[in-house]
Amino acid sequence: MLNKIICILIFITLCSGLNAKNTGLIFVSNEKTHDLTVIDSETLEVINSIPTSKRPRDMHFNQDRTLIYVACGDNDVIDIVDIEKQEVIGSLDTGPSPEAFMFSPDYNYIYVSNEEDSTLGVLDVNDNIIVETIPTGAEPEGVLATKSGKIVYVTSEVADMVHVVDAEGLFVTENIFVGTRPRRLAMTPDEKELWVSAELSGEMYIIDTSTYEVTDIINFLPPGFRPEDVTPVGFRINKEGTKAYVGLGRANHVGIVDVKSREVEDYILVGSRAWEVEFSKDENTLYVANGLSDDISIINLENNEVVKSIAVGRVPYKVLIDYIE
């Protein structure tokens, strides 16, 4: 009996050892050097670079945070990176030019925008097959699944639209016109609002998810820039749903928005062409990928100051943090 208990305890210990790596490492995808830069979040030193397939862009962890899935646009695959081994161990086939993607809440499916095919692809992660391709307007990009997994939103950059996709039937139920060149999506924690960045009209669109009407439009104007320079792309809303942090593209700043009042509270100067932003676990730090200065900026959100800029590979796209639980 005791032996059995010991065996079970050892088994449980071994199992928990297979859980999240908690490495505290920061991964940056670099479009032109075709690799991920690996940075230690304590020392802020670059410790490694992991070669991937060509043109790595969007990245997401798997459910237990042992692997990173990376969409590689020029090879039409999603590479699978083992965090512990720090190397690619496999890949999934996608449609042409995958850019952004998201896991379904049960992690069995990946919804991926195939940029050059004007489709949203649905991949079965376990069997590595494309289950469905849903036609969208030209150049689909941002993909977002709701917490229930019942709805997937995808933007079409050229059609200036957000498509609302029924995730069970896999068809488009609604099309919402937004600003010029809509790129990324995020929801408030209560999922009552869907926010969409419109890169070329320099705006953030806020959509009421019960009516799919556009209720607000936020404009940005950091000091020293003209409206046409403001090209918002990536942004995050914090866990409390109180603040949004928006990468303003060629306006080289991050804009901080008070979600409730829609007011832009502050602008922080970062590097060149600030696109994707990412929080640390405690949301006291923001990491910004600066695509055209080949570096990332690290911002202390307690005083809104840039702590450090770290040189990474060429044309960094996104920052992913394997924070310690």
């Binding site: 050059e116 070329l200 046409e228």
Partner: protein, 395 residues
């Protein structure tokens, strides 16, 4: 007997329409080009190399059609582009008149200056005619017409772009080499204006000819043409191309050549990597992969998108509403060159960045940072509001 009466009644009530009038809930575009247009003759040089490789820009129009198709499906409206090939300028005018009576109000015309100068002669209203290939500045000045819109840049925009670059690099002393054709004089004059505007110094202008006659060596010998007073850069005005392609590396001194060869001012470039350009080039390859997307293709694409996107955003198929929309400040086309593009209301020219390029790379996108304008930096390229000689008489 009964049957015959029924047929008679049917014939009377079914409208017979030989003109195929278009459905009123659709946006129709007519694309008209000229058969045997000499501008598209592949110039066969001695070595059988094409000097002006370019296909017909209708392919660019098709790319834009493909982008809009799904949208209009969703809106429950129709869109159509019809292509017509005619013999000459006169036939283009007749075709336009015919099509207007059949509910087509938008025309994309691939023709040269001689056609556009005829437009003020005719009377049609609520139509928009797009110039997609002719850079002649006079069409934006004294020969302008309120119904004509230009998506292709003018010569002055192209030479201003190169002039900005010369100022930026501080290569201010220029040798201007000019060929024998009328178009060469137009190109050279445009650069002279840009040079005055930007404070460059054309230290000498020399006329060249394409010839091997030793008696005329002062005009045809590349070494002789390029000695003399000191200069930084050679500006070449050579619309034909056969002379210019041998000029770089044959000059007396190691000077760069810009203008008609070397560093050229382009509307679009196949190797452009920013602002989503590769995606547009890729969609073009889906339509025609035998060649790369050219300046004219982009201009056709921009014209079609201007019309379809304005219809979409103004939620209308009415031609007046569509035209009013793309003349308003609500209109901004994503031209995949960075900023949103719109039309200058004083001469109907689409304002846009000009790409300074070599054969395989974009060297600089203009306007160059630092060249400022009171309202829109794109207006540092080309003819500005205060200096325009265009006055639209028939609004």
């Amino acid at each position: 007997m009964k049957f015959k009466i029924i047929y008679l009644i049917l014939i009377l009530i079914i409208p017979i329409n030989f003109g195929f009038t278009k459905d009123l809930e659709s946006v129709n575009i007519a694309y008209i080009e000229i058969e045997n247009d000499s501008r598209y003759d592949p110039d066969v040089a001695y070595t059988r190399i094409q000097l002006k490789p370019t296909g017909r820009p209708f392919a660019g129009a098709l790319v834009a059609y493909g982008e809009s198709e799904k949208l209009f499906d969703i809106l429950g409206k129709e869109i159509e582009i019809s292509r017509f090939v005619v013999k000459d300028n006169e036939e283009i005018l007749n075709k336009i008149k015919e099509l207007v009576s059949q509910n087509t109000h938008f025309f994309i015309i691939d023709a040269d200056s001689s056609f556009f100068k005829k437009i003020p002669e005719f009377d049609l209203k609520n139509i928009a005619i797009f110039n997609i290939t002719e850079p002649d500045d006079s069409l934006r000045q004294e020969n302008c017409d309120s119904r004509v819109f230009h998506t292709i840049p003018s010569y002055s925009m192209l030479s201003d772009a190169l002039a900005q670059y010369l100022v930026f690099k501080n290569w201010k002393k220029i040798l201007l080499l000019k060929g024998p054709y009328e178009e060469d004089t137009i190109i050279a004059d445009s650069f002279i204006n840009s040079s005055n505007k930007y404070g460059l110094d054309i230290i000498e202008t020399k006329d060249f000819i394409l010839s091997n006659d030793p008696r005329k060596r002062e005009e045809n010998n590349l070494a002789l043409l390029t000695i003399g007073k000191k200069y930084d850069v050679i500006y070449l005005a050579d619309s034909d191309g056969e002379f210019g392609r041998y000029l770089p590396y044959s000059t007396k001194n190691p000077n760069l050549v810009i203008g008609s060869t070397g560093l050229t001012a382009e509307t679009w470039h196949w190797s452009f990597e920013r602002h989503g350009a590769p995606q547009l080039n890729s969609r073009f390859a889906d339509i025609d992969d035998s060649r790369r997307m050219s300046n004219f293709d982009w201009a056709a694409w921009a014209a079609v998108n201007t019309i379809f996107k304005s219809s979409m955003k103004s939620k209308s198929v009415d031609s007046k509403k569509i035209i009013d929309f793309f003349k308003s400040d609500k209109f901004g086309l994503d031209g995949f060159k960075g900023p949103r593009l719109s039309f200058r209301l004083w001469d109907n020219q689409m304002r846009q960045p000009i790409l300074l390029s070599t054969h395989n790379a974009l060297i600089y996108k203009t306007p160059i940072e630092g060249f400022l304008h009171e309202k829109n930096d794109l207006d540092t390229l080309g003819s500005d509001e205060l200096e325009t000689r265009c006055s639209f008489t028939n609004k």
